[in-house]
Structure formats: structure tokens, C-alpha cells
């Protein structure tokens, strides 16, 4: 059965949705992601929906659910790369995705996650978390430009 791949990146999980999901696939992703969080103890989830051209109420609810469940499991969720047309449609649809943090692209999303983790761990006193964050930041700087599917968060037209 087809699945959306979930990549582990340090303390974070990276999910890039590259296909138009049917409803069951969305449910499977929700299940996979929650079990992955509990297994790895991930502190954050980066949900890249830059490839999604349509987000209807069901997928919207799924994104909301993922964020809510992750929060219960002590992980922050950031949705990145939403296309402007999708964003406008969501608003027109009446979906505001309450409790879901968004960022324009993966880079900003990562920064957001790191900040959140640092704040949660005690305002930067934890050296270990800093080290991890620093390492991640380095990685991000090295590989960000060559990523095969870079952040597509273009500013709204």
C-alpha cells in the first residue's frame, strides 16, 4: 500500500506531501506520523504541502488533527509551502487551521521549530539542545540550496 514517506532529521520529522492525497492516504499519514513521533521522540514535525494544489475541508481537518495530536505528544507542527491559491481558498472555505503554525518555506519552518523547542526546553539553557540546534543549522545551511525539492514558498502574488 502506498504511503507518504516520513523522514527523520535530528529531533524533527519531515513530511513532504508530493501527491494529491485521497482520503485514506491522509488517514494513513496521520496514523504513521503519530506512531513515528512516539517511537522517535521527535520534538517537531515539518509538514511540506508545497506540492498540494488543492486542500479541501477533509485535508484541512487532517492537517489540524496532525497538529493537535503532535502537540499532545509534545511535538510542534509547522506547515510550510502552502500555495497562495490554496491559502486563499482555505480562507474562503472558512478553514483557518486553528492551532497550526505555518511558515512560508522549509527554512523558516525549521527556524520556527528550533525556537519552539528551545523555548520549551528552558529558554536556551540546555547546552545539548543548543548543540543539536547548531548542528542542524549547519546542516541546513550546507544542504538547503541543493535540496532536490527546495522550499517553494514564493511570496503571495
Amino acid at each position: 500500500m502506498e504511503r507518504i514517506p516520513i523522514l527523520k532529521m535530528g529531533p524533527f520529522l519531515l513530511v513532504t506531501i508530493q501527491v494529491d492525497m485521497h482520503d485514506r492516504l491522509a488517514m494513513v499519514l496521520q496514523d504513521d506520523l503519530t506512531s513515528m513521533i512516539s517511537r522517535t521522540g521527535a520534538r517537531g514535525v515539518l509538514l511540506d504541502i508545497s506540492a498540494l494544489e488543492i486542500v479541501d475541508s477533509f485535508i484541512g481537518r487532517m492537517i489540524s488533527n496532525i497538529a493537535a495530536m503532535a502537540r499532545v505528544l509534545d511535538a510542534e507542527t509547522v506547515v510550510v509551502g502552502m500555495q497562495p491559491a490554496v491559502a486563499i481558498t482555505l480562507v474562503e472555505l472558512g478553514l483557518s487551521l486553528p492551532g497550526v503554525r505555518t511558515a512560508l518555506n522549509v527554512e523558516r519552518g525549521m527556524a520556527l521549530l528550533r525556537d519552539a523547542v528551545r523555548r520549551a526546553d528552558g529558554a536556551g539553557t540546555d547546552a545539548g539542545a543548543d548543540a543539536i540546534a547548531a548542528a542542524l543549522a549547519g546542516e541546513e545551511d550546507d544542504g538547503g540550496g541543493d535540496a532536490p525539492r527546495g522550499p517553494r514558498g514564493a511570496p503571495p502574488a
Binding site: E2, D20, E53, D56
Partner: protein
Amino acid sequence: MTIPLLTCALATEHDVVLARQRVRQVAALVGFDAQDQTRIATAVSEVARNAVQYGGGGQLEVGVERPALPGAPQHLLTVIRDRGPGIPHLDAVLGGGYRSPTGMGLGLVGARRLSDRFAIAAPPGAGTTVTLAREFARGAPPADATTARRLADALAEQPPRGALEEARLQNQELLRALDALRERQAEVDRLNATLAETNRELEETNRGVVALYAELDERASYLARLNEVKTRFLSDLSHELRTPLNAIRNLVRLFLDGVVGDLTGVQRKTAALIGDSAEGLAQLVDDWLDLAKIEAGKTTVQLAECRVAELFGALRGMFRPMQAVQAGPAPVGAWNDRGVPLVFGPADEIPPFLCDEAKVSQILRNFVSNALKFTERGEVRVLADADDDWVRFHVQDTGIGIAPDDQEQIFEEFWQVESPRQRQVKGTGLGLPLSRRLARLLGGDVTLESVPGVGSTFTLAVPRRPAGEAAGAPAREGAHADV
């Protein structure tokens, strides 16, 4: 007026994805901008999901609605129908107060917000029809049949599914085809096994039949050998018996003629009885010998011109002395002591024919002697008639008759009908079989009609032109005409 552009079935959630992708493509192709493409596709996605989830599947139709008035904007029209039970709390749903257990209760409301025109018809039990319309951008080229064709071509070129999805579907189809093939193979194997089984059974049957045939052949040749032996035996025996029998008959005649001295009344009677018995035995031996000769194929047919009147005359002469002389030397047919007359029919009308007179006479003698034996009152009639091909002789009696079951058996050797009368009269049991064989030898046959208690009619039919004489027949016919 609406120009139809696309129709697609909605049965599974994959179809929902397909529907929104197709609609998005159509929207792009007819000139909607990215934002509107997303709006239209999202609205369709909401309603299509409802149709699949609650409506038990349905259908999506996409078309362009041409404006009624020139200059007015045209619309992209999407109609989604399902076969579900309708929507029971439509007002609540549309009012935004309803919260769906699966979505956010925003499907229909959202679709309405995303459309320029929205209509829903949900009569209970008749399915739900949702119509969504989106206005074309100002200045968009008017759609017509050409647009529809162009769209169809473009849609065919753009597979709505990703390559992965495509591969997955193809895989599934392959697996299904493989399964079907495997089933067919199994079916063929089963059929083959059945065929092999049938073949084996047939072979066994065949072997059995062949064995039976061999056995039958063996039996047949055994019987043929047996018959041959019997015929030779009978023939030999008859010859051996004839010599002493003739001696007895001649000696008795010498006694009766007084050559060896005068006899007393008792002696004469005794000698006559010995003579009777010897005559009977001689008759039996003669019949035997004739039968044996026929079976051995040694009997020859001597054809000559016959006249029915002469035949009748000879027969009459043969039986008259026995009618007159009670203790005559020839006991055959000596049973008309009961006063049963022998009557001959007219014979002058029948033209002469080609035949073996001795054999015809022998057969008729058998018939008459039989008839006289089994007739106690009434009469025995001998008649003849003829047509172009056959001459027929009938011997009618008013005797005891023969039951239908026995009518064929009396033509078998040594077979005699069980009856009180039968026990009183003597016979060899060879007369009728011999008659039939002789008749067939002549190219004719013997038949019998009989009603028990009323009488019997034996008929001898002989051909007027026997097979061997066919070539000479016309000339002979001419000769007959002269007579």
C-alpha cells in the same frame, strides 16, 4: 445551452481525487487563473466526497454554460449527482450549524462559498444533485464545440494520475490478468484430466469389445464345424439306414404277396404293421437325407417347364389310393379315414412356368399330408394363383390351427407343437423345415397364416423366372404366350 465537456464516475475516493484533478485541468484549459482553478477543484472535491461517502457513488458532469443573452458571462458548470438517500438536515448543513463527524461540516457550505452559483436538490430517496457554476473571466473566448474537442484531446494527453499511481493500477491489472490466466490454466488442466480419464475408459471398453469379437469368431467357427460334422453324420447315417430299411420293406412285401407261403389273418396284420413302421422310418430317413444334402450344398435344382394342372394331377393321384385303401402299403397321408376330402382348385388359367417340378411336388406333398393329419372335419383345399413374377400354391385346412408363438418355430428341425392331436398323429418333425429349405433353394419361400381353432394356410411362392434363368426368360415368356 450547455456544452458538455467531461463526465466521470464517482465510486471510490480515488475517483474523488481524479474528479478534482480533471476539473482543475478543465478549468485551466478553458482559461481560469490558478486561483479559480483551485477554488473550483476544491468545491468539486467537497461535493464529490459527499457523493462517494454518503451518496453511495454518483457521477460528475462538467460543461460550459453559454449565456442566454449575448455579452453576459458564460459559466463553467459542474453537476454532481449521487444515488444516496438525500440529505436529511440540509438546512442545518447549509446554515453552517452542522458539524460532520468526518469533515468539518464545511463541505457544502464551503462549496457554496467557492462558487458563483450554487444549487442543491436533495429530495428524500431520490439522490442528491449539486450544481456548481463559476463565472468565466471577462474577455475569455466563448466556448463552443471546437473548444470541447480541443479539451477532450488535451485531457487525453494529460494523465490525471501520477506515474506511480499509473504503475500501481497497471500492476493490479497485470495481477488480475495473471489470476485469470491461472484460472484458465487450471480449467484446461481439469478438462485434460477428464479427457485422459475418458480416453482410458474408452480404451478399456475397446479392448473388451475386441476380446468379445475374438470369442464370437471362435464360437462361430466352432458352430460351423459342428454343423458340418452333424450334416456329414446325418448323411452317412441315412445311407447306412436305407439299405436295411429297403430290405425290410421288400421282405414284408414278399410276405404280404404270399411268396413265402400263405399267412393267417393275424400274421398278415402283423406283417402290415411292420410294413407301416418301415415306411414311416424310410420317410424320416429320406427327409433327413434331403436336409443333409441341402445343408451340404449338394442339392441341385433341375429346371423344366411345369404346368400347375399336371402338378395337381400328380398330387391327387398320390393321395387317392391312400384314401381308398385303408391298410395300403404307403401310410403317408393315410389319415383321411375321418372322411376329410382333399379338394383341388382350378389350375388351367395359370400359364406354365419354369421350375424344379420334383421339389415343388415334394413341398406340396408335405403341406397336404400335414393338413390331412391335423384336420378332423371340414376339408383341405389346394389352390394356385400367379402374377407376373410369382406362382403361389396355397394349402388350406380347417384344422386345429397354430398359435402365433409357434408359427415360426414349426419351421425348425424336429420341432412339433404340443397338443393332444399332435400326440395322436405321427410325424418326423422334418417336413416343414425341409419344405422351407427347398423353397428357398428354388428362390421362393414358404409362409404360414393360421388362426388356432379355425385353420391354417400354408403358402409356397416360387418365382416364375428363377434367378439362373433370367437371360432366357423373355424367350420362354414368348413360348408360354403361344401355349
